[in-house]
């Protein structure tokens, strides 16, 4: 019996643009169980970003319910939402969003600075642990400008892991990376999902990336078009191994 992490019921989100009402999400329902690796796909304008913002507790639905780990976010204030994000969600962004001129370790520590229950030593310990989990144990003192794109994204993933969230929310996390590095990141994601049982919600528009996940939700015009279980997800490690070795540099 796995635990329900996400529960969305008849979720609608409307924006007021001048005199017009834009209906970005027109009634969406789904649940995500602990340990699932879900990709949310959709072309631009499908409501993907709006859904992501709501899933990330950055925005609230106009109508409908959203329960994250059993907490109804509708009732929460702005500050309580921030606390919830801090405790339950790990964000990974397309543009990494690391603090410039700040070491990898300090970047990873950042979410814990906003959690007053964690001591200085525990913070450091957990940051080191998270960086080790993304195989960057030798890059603690490097600043983002001294790291490659893939390494930067791995620092960002470590930052998402450090607060031990119930869900990792990735927004086009491979969008800025070449295919080899993308596969490396996906391989890392798969490891986290399979070995550590992390729940991952991955927003992307690339079907290639979606094929690594265990479930794909296809959005179109603010509604769920398809919700398919992927019985045999591809292994990113194998794809990586089969990738032709390029020696043009």
């Amino acid at each position: 019996m796995s635990k329900t992490i996400l529960e969305i019921r008849e979720l609608k989100r409307e924006f007021q643009m001048g005199s017009e009402t834009v209906r970005a999400l027109k009634g969406i329902s789904f649940t995500v169980q602990a340990g699932e690796f879900v990709t949310i796909m959709g072309s631009s304008g499908s409501g993907k970003t709006t859904l992501l913002n709501i899933l990330g507790c950055l925005d609230k639905p106009s109508i409908g319910d959203y329960l994250l780990d059993g907490v109804d976010i509708k009732k929460l204030s702005r500050d309580e939402l921030a606390q919830l994000r801090n405790h339950k969600i790990g964000f990974v962004f397309q543009a990494y969003n690391l603090l410039p001129r700040t070491s990898a370790l300090e970047n990873v520590e950042l979410p814990l600075l906003y959690n007053k229950d964690i001591s200085v030593s525990e913070r450091r310990e957990r940051a080191i642990h998270a960086l080790e989990a993304v195989k960057l144990a030798d890059r603690f003192d490097h600043t983002p400008s001294q790291l490659s794109g893939g390494q930067q994204q791995r620092v960002a993933i470590a930052r998402a892991l450090v607060n031990e969230p119930v869900m990792i929310l990735a927004d086009e996390a491979t969008g800025n990376l070449d295919s080899r590095t993308s596969y490396e990141i996906m391989s890392l994601m798969q490891d986290l999902n399979e070995q550590q049982g992390k729940t991952i919600v991955f927003v992307t528009h690339e079907p290639d990336i979606a094929s690594f996940s265990s479930r794909t939700i296809q959005l179109r015009d603010g509604k769920i078009q398809k919700d398919t279980q992927n019985k045999e997800p591809r292994s990113a490690k194998e794809v990586l191994a089969n990738l032709p070795v390029t020696d043009d540099y």
Binding site: N53, G56, L58, D59, R78, D79, A82, Q83, R85, N86, H87, F91, F93, N97, L99, P100, R101, T102, E106, L110, P111, L113, Y114, N115, K116, R159, N163
Partner: protein, 406 residues
């Protein structure tokens, strides 16, 4: 979030842009240093004026004859003769707040030693006068009450007179000099006092018993001044009141008549001069204060730029759990760190430059604790005041939009 984390976050954010933080600080540094140095110079000159007057005897009280109506014509006080020995006797008998009293009468004339002569004045006083004016003898002895009673032809000599009558360094003690043709024996040498606050040479003087000057030189029964010293500086006002009433009684003035004398204290002089230099202090402080405000505006300016530039960072911090309050406090703390660090450097610079002014220009300076504390508080307040609006702007950003900001 606890305060330590907050300081850590703000400090790291500043560290990422050291040069900018320093340049922002510079406005505050200069402002604070200016306030402290200016106030130190102002206080220093005030103090030196006070010291100068104190060396004349700060509890000294002077009684001058005052102008009075004589048949409808006002006559200048100095030519008016109202102060007599009767007043001295009355004051000595009745005044309780006054410890020492000396009449004074001055004759101008030519002092002669052999072939040398020098125009100077001879002041006739009582032995108390030395204490009242805080005069000391370099050599010899002072005249006594006995000399006053006998109108002895003895005198004390000031340094300027010595320089002119005894230019070859002979010891004037025991020598006889002539003043307005009357021979006086020099019995003591006054320690030089230099110029007073008004540029008069206080050493160009001969002191003799007042009876001698009254009887042998001027042939008068009046005094030009009465000098007295109050028991302490604190009772100067009480002594003044007391002396006024005693003198009014002694002069048999009716209630509706004006005083025919004026009682002056050094406090009045000190106040007058202090208020002048006080004005100077205020003026300097205002100028320095303006520079502090400009420094503060500098902070505000940089903080606004910083908020815009770091919009994505703010979005990220909010996404990973920073509350609006946390963001606000971070930026506020950055502003306060800038202003307080600037304040500390400014205080040090201010003290150093005050001392430098004393060393190079030999102007007296006093770094007052209040100016240090005050400018420090102003600094912190400046940081909070000018950091508040940018911080508030940052805290109100929408994380979704901030994250997508290019």
């Amino acid at each position: 979030m606890n305060i330590l984390n907050l300081i850590r976050i703000a400090f790291k954010a500043l560290q990422r842009n050291k040069l900018r933080a320093f340049l922002t600080m510079l406005g505050i540094i200069i402002g604070v240093a200016a306030v402290i140095a200016m106030v130190a110079i102002g206080q220093g000159s005030k103090q030196s004026i006070h010291d100068q007057l104190s060396s004349m005897g700060s509890n000294m009280i002077t009684v001058l004859p005052s102008s009075n109506l004589t048949g409808g014509v006002r006559i200048a006080g100095s030519s008016f003769q109202t102060l007599t020995d009767k007043d001295i006797v009355a004051l000595k008998r009745e005044a309780q707040y006054v410890t020492e009293i000396s009449p004074s009468i001055t004759a101008k004339g030519q002092a002669i030693n052999g072939a040398l002569n020098w125009p100077t004045s001879m002041q006739g006083v009582s032995p108390d006068y030395l204490d009242i004016r805080v005069l000391t003898l370099k050599d010899g002895i002072a005249f006594t009450q006995q000399d006053v009673l006998t109108s002895a032809k003895v005198c004390l000599i000031g340094q300027t007179v010595i320089d002119n009558l005894f230019p070859n360094g002979e010891n004037p003690i025991g020598k006889v000099i002539r003043f307005n043709k009357i021979p006086f024996q020099v019995i003591g040498i006054l320690n030089p006092k230099g110029q007073n606050a008004f540029g008069q040479d206080q050493d160009d003087i001969l002191l003799a018993p007042y009876t001698t000057v009254q009887k042998r030189i001027l042939a008068t029964i009046y005094y030009q001044n009465i000098y007295a010293s109050a028991a302490s500086e604190a009772v100067t006002d009480a002594a003044t009141t007391e002396m006024t009433s005693i003198l009014r009684e002694s002069h048999r003035l009716r209630d509706n008549e004006d005083n025919d004398f004026t009682v002056r204290t050094q406090a009045e002089l000190i106040n007058t001069l202090s208020s002048t230099s006080g004005l100077l202090t205020v003026l300097l402080t205002v100028i320095a204060g303006i520079s502090l405000v400009i420094g503060g505006i500098g902070i505000m300016n940089i903080m606004y730029v910083s908020v815009t530039e770091r919009t994505r960072e703010i979005g990220l911090r909010m996404a990973i759990g920073a509350r609006g309050k946390d963001i606000m406090l971070q930026f506020l703390m950055e502003a306060i760190l800038i202003s307080i660090t600037g304040g500390i450097i400014g205080v040090i610079l201010g003290i150093v430059s005050s001392n430098l002014v004393t060393l190079t220009l030999s102007w007296p300076t006093i770094v007052s604790e209040s100016s240090v504390v005050l400018s420090f508080i102003v600094c912190a307040v400046t940081g909070i005041f000018f950091g508040y609006y940018p911080a508030q702007k940052a805290s109100r950003l929408d994380p979704i939009e901030a994250l997508r900001y290019e």
